[in-house]
Amino acid sequence: MSESSLPTPGERFVNGVLPENPVFRQLLGLCPVLAVTATLASALTMSFAVAVVLLGANVVVSLIRGWLRPHLRIVVFTLTIAGFVTLVDKTMAAFLYPMSKELGPYLPLIIVNCIIICRCEVCASKQGVGAAAADALGQSLGFTLALCAIASVRELLGAGTLLGFQVMPAAWPEWVVMILPPGAFFTFGLLMALLSVIQLHREHRRVV
């Protein structure tokens, strides 16, 4: 495919946020989406870590795309991602120790997060650094939005707080189940259903 037929950096960025949202549209990288969304703070930290790794991997892959060999490209992608994840993991353990303890194994699990390897394959290995960086920023913004949407619902209903601040009245009966694993499944399923309600509504209007 020639580079001119691929989306421009601007389009890449916009696409990542909503039209090709990695979580709600492409259903990629769902482990952290469900696992670290019990509190908004951990969701934000996780999104930031993913953004750094995605940006780093996309830029590096885009820089070396001319020398990639087809059958070895996945290995190179994985190596790059694992390198960046180790760096982020160590940096976080050094400067944000409590958060790195809370995220636990989910930080190293970014290595096998499908979003990053998918973006390397779809965008960075075909386009220049500008487009790759814009794509990484757009996708991580979309990822952050999705994580924050789920996390705020879970934290608000489960603990009555947002980012640790009390939001709900003190009499709020905390829905502990929302913080527990089932709450993650329920919240994600219901949010997706909500999105498709909106979409169905729009399509219906267009037909009428």
Binding site: A93, A94, A159
Partner: protein, 172 residues
């Protein structure tokens, strides 16, 4: 022969170069960050020592235990680690000692049900352990109250403390 080397280089040169690059980067990161990470890991325990041993202002590691130091830098107590199985997974505890007397308990890590089992982290409840003597078991609902809705979690903490109070039983 020369063409073979060229072929291998052609195919895997990028892989080798990336590997080398990241090896170098990680080496630098290791040298730069590792001391900080170790210090973080240690201070997680050391920061708790003033709350666990009365009169202590700082602490230092000594082998598997930690020594509590008072304002003059003299050893005024010890802090040990203990562990046990809770309702949702392992529980890790820090215990403060002054001679043979237990002076404080802190939950370092736990995985209990939020809102129910997590009541074991309540500082006031943990204070009720203070005063236990080494060699005498602490009894649930007599020396220490159990939490309603967190019976197993409370029992797990009491069991872990008892393992430290009566070492012979723990090593059986």
């Amino acid at each position: 022969m020369k063409s073979l080397i060229l072929h291998v280089w052609h195919q895997s040169g990028l892989l080798l170069a990336t590997g080398f690059f990241f090896g170098l980067t990680l080496g630098v990161a290791q040298v730069w960050l590792e001391p900080r990470i170790q210090a973080n890991r240690l201070s997680e325990t050391l920061d708790r020592i003033p709350d666990l041993v009365p009169g202590a202002v700082s602490g230092r590691a000594s082998g598997r235990e930690f020594e509590a130091l008072d304002a003059e830098g003299l050893v005024c107590g010890t802090v040990t680690r203990a562990g046990g199985g809770g309702f949702g997974g392992p529980i890790e505890l820090l215990l403060g000692w002054k001679g043979q007397e237990l002076t404080g308990v802190y939950i370092l890590a736990q995985n209990e049900t939020p809102g129910l089992g997590t009541r074991i982290t309540d500082p006031d409840w943990l204070k009720s352990f203070a005063g236990c003597q080494r060699g005498t078991a602490c009894v649930l609902n007599e020396d220490v109250d159990g939490w309603t809705g967190a019976t197993i979690s409370s029992k797990a903490v009491v069991d872990a403390v008892n393992t430290a109070l009566i070492p012979e039983v723990g090593h059986e």
